[in-house]
Symmetry: C2
DNA sequence: CCGTATCCTCCGGGATACTG
DNA sequence: CAGTATCCCGGAGGATACGG
C-alpha cells in the first residue's frame, strides 16, 4: 500500500488529526497507567470539559484505541481502558510529553528572544548582510 | 522544576498545543530533510493554505524550532530551516508518522466495526452480561 | 454517576485581493 | 516570490439544563 501523509486525501491524515489534539494525548497517557472512570478522567485531565471529554473518548473508541466498558451497577459505572492497538501508540505519545518537559524552557526562552527582537533596531532592520533573520 | 502537563496552566501545555497541530508535524517532517522555500513547502504539504502556512511557520520560528532566512535577492527569497532544537523533536514526530502508516488499516477497520455495531441488534442492545461494550 | 441536548459565542481558517 | 490585509462562514467548544 502507498500511503503518503503529505497528500491531502491520504487516510493517514485521519490519524494525524486525532493525534493533533492535545486532549487525545493526555487521555491516552492517563489510560496507559490503568483504566479510568469517566469522572476520574475529567478530574485528572485538568481543563477538559465534560462535552469534549465525551467526544474525545468516543472518537478514541471508534478508532480502536480505547475500549469502553459498562458495568450494570446502580447507578451505572463506565470504565475506559486502553486497547492493545492503543498501547502501541503510547510510547510515542509519552516521548512527546517527555520532550515537552525537557525542552519547555528552551521554547519559552526562544519566545522571549523572538518577542524582544521583533521590535529591536527599528531604525536599521536590515543591518546584517547575507542571510538575515526576520529583519 | 515541577512540570505537570496534566495541569491546565502548565507551560508544557504550550508545547502540546503546538504539536497538536497536524500542519506542524508535516512541516517539521519536510524541513527535517532540508531547508525549503515558502512556496515549495506550500506545494509539498498538500492542502495547507497560504495563510495557515504563514501562521504556522511564524509560530514555529517563535518557538525556536525553525529558522527563517532572508536572502536579499530580487525578488527576495526566503528559506526555512529546522534548528538544532527542532531537530531534537523530529525523531518523535517521525515516529508518529510511521505509526500512522503502520496502523492506519487497523484504525479504519476499527471504525468500520464501530459504525456497523452502533446500530446492530437494536432489539437486544444489552444481550451480554457483565462488562458491556457500548450497549 | 454518566452522559446527551441545546444554545451561543468565538475564532480558525478558506477565499480573495493587494503589496514590496 | 513571499507574504499581509480583509471579509466571512462553519464548526469547535464552553455553559447550562436535562435524562437514564
Amino acid at each position: 500500500m502507498m500511503y503518503d501523509v503529505f497528500q491531502r486525501a491520504c487516510p493517514t491524515r485521519l490519524v494525524l488529526d486525532r493525534i493533533a489534539d492535545k486532549w487525545t494525548l493526555l487521555i491516552l497517557l492517563r489510560l496507559e497507567e490503568e483504566p479510568r472512570r469517566f469522572n476520574a478522567l475529567r478530574r485528572e485531565v485538568d481543563g477538559i470539559s465534560q462535552k469534549v471529554l465525551s467526544q474525545t473518548l468516543r472518537a478514541l473508541e471508534r478508532d480502536g484505541l480505547v475500549q469502553r466498558r459498562v458495568y450494570p451497577t446502580v447507578p451505572v459505572s463506565v470504565e475506559y481502558a486502553i486497547t492493545p492497538l492503543g498501547r502501541t501508540l503510547t510510547g510515542t505519545v509519552d516521548a512527546i510529553r517527555r520532550w515537552a518537559q525537557d525542552n519547555i524552557e528552551s521554547v519559552l526562552a526562544a519566545q522571549k528572544r523572538y518577542d524582544a527582537g521583533a521590535v529591536e533596531d527599528p531604525q536599521n532592520p536590515l543591518a546584517r548582510a547575507g542571510a538575515l533573520e526576520r529583519g
